[in-house]
Symmetry: C3
Subunit: 264 residues, 3 copies
């Protein structure tokens, strides 16, 4: 794979501290020509599952060879492995704790290594509290510059990578039961129900026992109207006309959403 | 115009989601050498007017040829047009909903096109919910690389572009009535009264019937003192010595501010 | 020193306004090939001391020759000096108000100049409210491109630079009394007690009269357990197992932390 010179960062570090800036310093020390792109640093602290879903939504939009660093890492400093994975589209670098679960479901690991070669680290003696800086940023920078992943440490079998349980909609007699998988800044409820599931059939969407009209866009006539649509993640979303569906429905990640077949 | 290889982004997307990161991925897929600069992503959701004012404050500080993408887009997926505009300083790309109103008042459109040529989009079939990703980011990247705007779609007459009502101070017998046009992170109240209006005459500034001393800098002697000054936007601002004028005056965007001629 | 083409920005401007974006525009106007890295813009308004500590934590991770701009500048527009400083690792640019105190304690100024040469400013007539845009961003860009610091204005003696009082732990008969120097996004309490102080001796850490076990990593067995460890700043930190120590201990920056010798 041609090297991309692009590294993306996704963390739960927030933006009030210097953690993210320091990771970028480490990356630019490897090669100042690298481009570093923030996916988001607002993953809720230690919420590996939210990180996995965010990475899934982003990775496919980047140039081939892009290196995605995902650091939601409550196990930093323990014996959890530090890993790099090659997939068709590029590379994934981070802790072996399931943060790449959803990307790997859609784009399986071609090969994976445990990061043990400290000459690619920011320091030969990594701290026990900040592998984002001491290991992942630096390794990602080398990968983005074309260093072969095999040099980073021993190959490990992809089947040994830690996986989170996948949150998939469950088939029911009259349709599917999904969940609110994420909530965006506008309060839109993004479900785990793929828009593809909804093709070739008419459906009824319901949340909190309310049936929601399925529409094509966020635009709408009556402020406050409830609606369901296929959002930019390609999944079923629940939104409120010029409003905030999260507040309106008092919804949380994990709430049930139902999809029932319509009988014409 | 020489191409700049610079794209700026202004949106109401916030930074908790991956929307902005995904737009950057799309831009780097067009050309990984492009620089992408965030203006802000914290425009209040769907507040086109706030977006217009923020763009006005920023565009003139960038190199010639810079492409500014503005996405506050409640009408995404409807028949509102997607547009690109050439101005003296560079390009503007976004929805045709008035978001460029204030820039265009100061730097009129030289030419404008409707974005219809899908070969410059991120996908031939744009979603109905995220034109920032599927149309604007990609078109902006091509413009920043030097692609001629004429290739992006048919020319449209600048007079047909949607315009927001301009918020200008209103002349009154003894001076001007303006408004609080924006409030910054420090709580400073930025008015729509240009500092140029205030040259060659002495004035009295008042808010909530309180007369405020006009000073030269934010520095001050007594914490909590009220003051008025020409701020970095070049407009009259109202501030509080080492404090937050927004909280102190209980002000909101749209509140009246009065400028009265002083009779010596 | 070889020029780095890298400028970092640390401010108290927040990210809701366009201030930071405008500084980047000014930098790219000097040279569009420059890389601009955000350290953080969430320094509490006008908290120079917090800015100094954040800069200390970040500067050493960047390539040699990097130019660090620090703008927490309540005195903008007064007669406080605008300065640039050369240190071994690179350059520091900002107001002469103590914001570089902690970096300079660890890496003393090699030379310093007062910024008076307006040909390196964004405008020959800087505003009195935004030197970040009108002076510092532009000067930093020139330094990052290799312009000699001597051209920027007259040399000033480093001993004349404004210094904040350094917050150092105080030796006591049975150990040290430090303070909570900063609190990170996870609620970890970062003290001013260097991990180096703690080598070659066993210690007892206490906060609010509670003795805290010293551990090696954030990982832990019982959610809610209190702990002390050497964090990524290299300083003693106080954390809570899978929780927020700031909320748990009701701590603030400045609170006392005690380190007592253990007698075996």
């Amino acid at each position: 794979m041609k090297h991309s010179l692009i590294v993306t960062l996704l963390t739960d570090f927030g933006i009030s501290d210097i953690f993210v800036g320091v990771m970028k310093g480490v990356i630019l020390r490897v090669n100042p020509k690298l481009s570093v792109i923030d996916l988001t640093h607002q993953i809720p602290p230690q919420d590996i599952s939210a990180g996995s879903f965010a990475l899934l939504g982003a990775y496919r939009y980047f140039p081939r060879g892009t290196v995605h660093v995902g650091v939601v890492d409550p196990g930093v400093g323990t014996n959890r492995r530090a890993i790099a994975i090659r997939i068709t589209e590029g590379y994934l670098v981070g802790p072996d704790n399931g943060i790449f679960t959803e990307i790997l479901f859609h784009s399986p690991a071609i090969e994976a290594v445990e990061l043990t070669e400290s000459r690619f680290f920011a320091t030969p003696n990594p701290s026990k509290t900040f592998h984002g800086r001491d290991i992942f940023a630096s390794v990602a920078a080398y990968l983005a510059c074309g260093t072969n992943i095999h040099k980073m440490g021993p190959l490990i079998h992809p089947s040994t990578l830690i996986q989170l349980p996948l949150s998939m909609p469950i088939e029911e007699p009259d349709g599917w039961r999904g969940i609110v998988r994420a909530i965006d800044r506008f309060g839109n409820l993004i479900t785990n129900i793929s828009g593809k599931l909804m093709e070739k059939q008419s459906w009824e969407v319901s949340l909190n026992s309310k049936i929601l009209p399925i529409v094509g866009t966020y635009s709408c006539r009556v402020p406050g109207d409830e609606m369901a649509l296929i959002g930019s993640h390609g999944n079923l979303e629940i939104a409120l006309c010029q409003g905030n569906a999260q507040l309106h429905f008092e919804s949380r990640v994990g709430d049930d959403v139902f999809l029932k077949r319509k009988h014409s």
